[in-house]
Amino acid sequence: MLLNDAPRPAKPRPGLFGLISILTFILTAAALMASEPALAQVPSAPEGMVALPAEAGGLPWWGWPLLLLVVTFVLGIVAVLGGVGGGVLFVPIVGGFFPFHLDFVRGAGLLVALAGALAAGPELLRSGMASLRLALPLALIASASAIVGAMMGLALPTNVVNTALGVTILGIVVLMWAAKKSEYPEVPKADPLSSMLRIHGIYREGSTGKDIDWRVHRTPGGLALFVVIGVMAGMFGLGAGWANVPVLNLLMGAPLKVSVATSKFMLSIVDTSAAWVYINQGAVLAMITIPSVIGIMLGSMLGVRLLKVANAALVRKIVIGMLLLAGSRALLKGLGIWA
């Protein structure tokens, strides 16, 4: 069995919001393509700014954001079908194959993951699939750690971060390939800390219509692991569903659906703290971030619709293949072998 960390029931619903995004996608694409003739009217570098030659080599300036919009749209589809978060695909693939500096890619990656979590969060909370009491203590640890991770990531040399990113992505590939999941883990007795914090709940299992009571154990161990998860989320801008779900499900014993939903919701807290570090340090570019957010969200909406007809096992193998390639690329780039 493979790890599944996509909270399928809570993907953004198409509607007015979807229509606005689709309209924006079309407008953005059209505007980017139509911008070239207007370049002569674009003002030169303002006072105090270093002026650089306009020729960029390769694609025209609007080509990369347009390509980014298309690629993130595809990533959004693949992420849903493959049962992974968008951030874990976004950073290594865009970081490895686009000309953007890794700082901006990680900043965008965090905001992509944050946007997805914000969009899904309200419904996950209302339905009771995500648990605030389970999320809050873990998110506190992870969000504080994510600040440290983000600061480390922006302070370390890019080749070191790329190398560490490559190793991490390859580790995620192994985790996705080998990790088991447990629909309803057995929790013989809640641990004293979770009992004291009253971390337990009940949710309606849609497939059977039954109410499922749940509780957790090994909370101190879970808290300790969330220190590491937070640091990695902040350092690499990956989101952290790939790590959250196994800890919540396999270690702490939360049901799989509660783990997936709580993990997704937690990203809205953890990625917020890390995202602010990137924003405050200038590592967010609108021209990279906004097309990515729009592309991933639109792709996710389409992906949800394709779930019924897609071969999920095949898509998951494709996702693992993509991560293997992107992780290898990041590692080799970091080591200076594949610059």
Binding site: F17, V42, L114, P122, L125, L132, I202, Q281, I290, I294
Partner: protein, 138 residues
Amino acid sequence: MEKQHQYASEEQVVYAKILDAGMKLGFVIVVVSFVLYVFGFVTPHVPVEQLPHYWTLSAQEYLAATNVPTGWGWLSLAGKGDYLNFIGIAILSLVTVVCYLRILPIFAKGGDKAFTAIAAVEVLVLVLAASGILVIGH
């Protein structure tokens, strides 16, 4: 609403409501500001044709080359097309703090000292991250 309360606590439902409203507001602003930026209705601080050179720089090099301040200094550039987008991004990145501030009194009123403390410390952590006090560099 009754059915929701069966599975979600009061603070959870309140949190969801604020998160939903903040998220939608942020997204609408992000989308509108980006359209204004891309269509050239609002002049950007960094000319778009220069972007391919700047996005290859590190964040620190970018700030130096484009004369952009760190922290909340971007607010002084919010009238420019590219930094206009940061208003929506900031709303999306602040909505969680507002959610926590709203549920804090619910925990406190219910005598839930542990979660009151957890929520209060989380607010401090997020405010610290957002404050721009934390300065780093390559």
